[in-house]
Symmetry: C2
Subunit: 200 residues, 2 copies
DNA sequence: CAGCAGGTAAACAGATCGGTTTACCTATCT
DNA sequence: AGATAGGTAAACCGATCTGTTTACCTGCTG
């Protein structure tokens, strides 16, 4: 398995597959070595510890969104479309960074730092595109769009429903639209007398 | 510790504390028994297996949102305010249901079903309130608000930033507002068939 | 050809896990 | 008083985990 590549590459590919699909704690180094078709000794020659292998696994997942010259708004919404396909994939098992933080527990672990870096990098990707669209407060909106995507990942993991990406996309459209249109109303909105609460 | 209560209660309280703050897989049954001030034999008398204890732990966390006769909109936004306090708490460690699904991995495990039930129950709570407000498509909006809350939990776990709850709340306000106001025509922005973009 | 870097296979060490068993103890109820 | 239910404490079992070690093998390269 994973022939035609260096041992280090095969080990990393095996770790990626097993760590993601089965969980970091559920997979032992023996299983990674076996999947890579490599002896345990060789694995420890390339990665001094399982923690180092975990860090390498997370760093290798650190892929930038492919740059595109499509309209910024389309790029953002296209990301949510891609998300739906990711959620529908049978091997989807949540966000690898969130999972790593959950599984490892220790916030001092290197994995947590890598996760934070990844999330911030992606947030800046949103923000740059939103600035090109010319929305109000691109920074705050970037955070909100990321919350939607993050929520879709977590919720789809629990529910197994890929269409949640479409819900997130629809919400993202509303938020972007709102940040484009002229301010409509001040925050403290007048109190509307509510109906008698007798009937739920 | 946990005196003045039955053994079963003490065991459950200990499991809740340890499972949530340190993770399900990181905590052994010996640790739970010790924390509960109970022998391992007694623990297994009350819960036949660790899996059963996990299920009991998740079920016990199954708390309804306290019913209130405050205006529905206030209740929803108040929930996001409470969320910020939860995220700011030093012992916050993410959503216990998502964490359990991630840590256990197996979708056939009882814990997954409990998690799904909890999420759906909460979604229905949103939906009932939204219907009282009289928004368009309360069902879809309930899902979206839940995505925001879920995203805030996951993002705050990796970033450690409680103000993400405020970002989620602001987004929720916009979405609710949008679902209340009469349909707006998109300003000269005709629908364009979306084109899938490439890799993450 | 000699040497060596880097590989395999497998045993090993020490720890921890879920779960069981043994032996003993103590409060309560008829 | 004596049986019983339910508790403690601790040893034990077999499996599994990370990481190390031993012994051997193989393909380059000077």
């Amino acid at each position: 398995m994973y022939t035609d590549s260096t041992p280090a590459e095969r080990i990393l590919a095996a770790a990626d597959k097993l760590f993601y699909t089965q969980g970091i704690r559920a997979v032992g180094v023996d299983a990674v070595a076996a999947e890579a078709g490599v002896s345990k000794r060789t694995l420890y020659n390339h990665y001094p510890s399982k923690d180092a292998l975990i860090a390498a696994y997370l760093t290798a997942r650190f892929k930038l969104v492919a740059p595109s010259d499509a309209p910024a708004r389309e790029q953002i919404l296209g990301y949510f479309d891609r998300l739906e396909r990711i959620l529908a994939d049978g091997s989807f098992r949540g966000c690898p960074y969130v999972n790593a933080v959950v599984e490892i527990g220790d916030p001092k672990h290197q994995a947590s730092g890598i996760a934070v870096q990844f999330k911030e990098q992606r947030r800046l990707w949103y923000r740059a595109l939103l600035e090109r669209i010319g929305v109000r407060d691109a920074d705050a909106l970037a955070t909100q769009l990321q919350l939607l995507a993050e929520g879709a990942l977590a919720a789809a993991l629990v529910r197994g429903d890929p269409t949640l990406a479409r819900s997130a996309r629809a919400a993202a459209e509303v938020l972007i639209e709102n940040a484009l249109s002229p301010r409509r109303r001040t925050r403290g909105r007048p109190y509307k007398p509510r109906r008698p609460s007798s009937t739920p």
